[in-house]
Symmetry: C2
Subunit: 221 residues, 2 copies
DNA sequence: TAGATTGTTAATCGATTAACAATC
DNA sequence: TAGATTGTTAATCGATTAACAATC
């Protein structure tokens, strides 16, 4: 039986924990490469990342690793556990639609593979882009999209098209079999309930940043 | 006295509410432009955005708008209230450092102005980029950065450089007077306590997406 | 008037934080 | 042994959700 299942049912994980795990992972990787430390305590991780140690402990506990009192966790093992837990050992393929600046940035970024995502191709309706390679990924004409999704059984679509095309492309994706859309547009997509939308909303982040800055600058006075 | 203050102290706003406000805003804008509806109820907003109406009501209440029982809120006024509340009427200037694909995408995107952010220039150390314009924004050599931050009193820096330069540039920014950094790298930045970091962590989003997809696909079986 | 919706107070739920025995 | 740290249960805190009187 798989580690994070009980009778085939996946244990529920709080989203905040899920979001912190990659942060620990990046930290641990760096630690392992640069310092070759064998053990690390939750206290130490917490200090370095400005997260309270109890929370680090709770988050780590989810991987079901066993630590050593007084010493902490084996770094190598902890890295492995997080990889296993997040399913980063088997990479999932994805298509990206909309090869503008942002789309190109995501296509060229090779780091996603480390996080279990392999963007295997880009799609665009601009003939001047079709046939080219960006970050070693081929760009196809968007009219090939449905067929290729179906044939290759792709489940994840990345949406970086201009806003007016977002819903249209999402519809095509869903119809062809995509089950999760990483949405970088600011369009609220309508999709069936059995499709996941992960909306990367920069406006939302910006609002949080601005409000914090407002409070900060006010406190300077 | 300003609307969101009490004796000069800014009311605390839950971050989730802060992140939902721009979503309502985008929805309302579209509604107003396309359908010219005068009143909208929390129920209706909730239905359209898949958020439960009570939450919409609570979020909206923070703008201190007064709605009309049976009718709802005046769309025009609600839009205005959200703009006021989020400080979107006076735009804040920002510099962007790292004019690669991602940096170019952000520079070219004109939508941030609507959310109170004006990226006025880009910086890079690549001479082939310096002096050019991207999205009507000049690209300067990064060695001009500290001076220009200081002279223009810029408070927000956007960081889109390759990982190895992230901390170095952040240090320069902070030393010159930047008080908030929008961090698009996957580097955990060390900055003084009186500087805000907003970390756009795509790995974290990706993890959430993958886990949800995993659960979804499992439930198909 | 009847009914939908607001505004506000109370209940619930879930994540964070605290406490503490067990352990190396 | 003494002390730091784990693992786990309990307490706290804050956001979400429910309930309901007031109102148009």
């Amino acid at each position: 039986m798989d580690k994070n299942e009980n009778n085939g049912k996946i244990k529920f994980i709080p989203e905040p924990t899920l979001r912190r795990l990659p942060v620990y992972y990046q930290y641990l990787k760096k630690l392992h490469n640069e310092k070759r430390i064998e053990f690390i305590s939750a206290t130490q991780i917490g200090n370095d990342l400005n997260i309270i140690p109890i929370q680090v402990k709770k988050d780590i506990a989810i991987t079901e690793i066993t630590g050593k009192p007084k010493l902490g966790y084996n770094v190598r093992e902890l890295i492995k556990r997080i990889e296993d837990f997040l399913g980063w050992n088997n990479v999932t393929d994805a298509f990206l639609v909309g090869v503008g600046n942002l789309g190109s940035a995501l296509l060229s970024y090779n780091g996603f593979k480390e996080y279990g995502l392999n963007i295997i191709a880009g799609f665009d309706d601009d003939e001047s882009k079709v046939g080219k390679e960006i970050g070693k990924k081929m760009v196809f004409h968007v009219n090939k999209l449905p067929d290729m999704i179906q044939r290759m059984g792709i489940k994840i679509g990345i949406l970086t098209v201009p806003a007016p095309y977002a819903q249209e492309i999402a519809d095509i994706m869903v119809k062809a079999g995509i089950r999760a859309i990483w949405n970088f547009t600011h369009v609220k997509l309508n999709v069936p309930k059995n499709v996941i939308i992960q909306h990367e909303n920069l406006a939302a982040s910006l609002v949080v940043l601005s409000k914090k800055l407002e409070i900060l600058l006010k406190s300077d006075e």
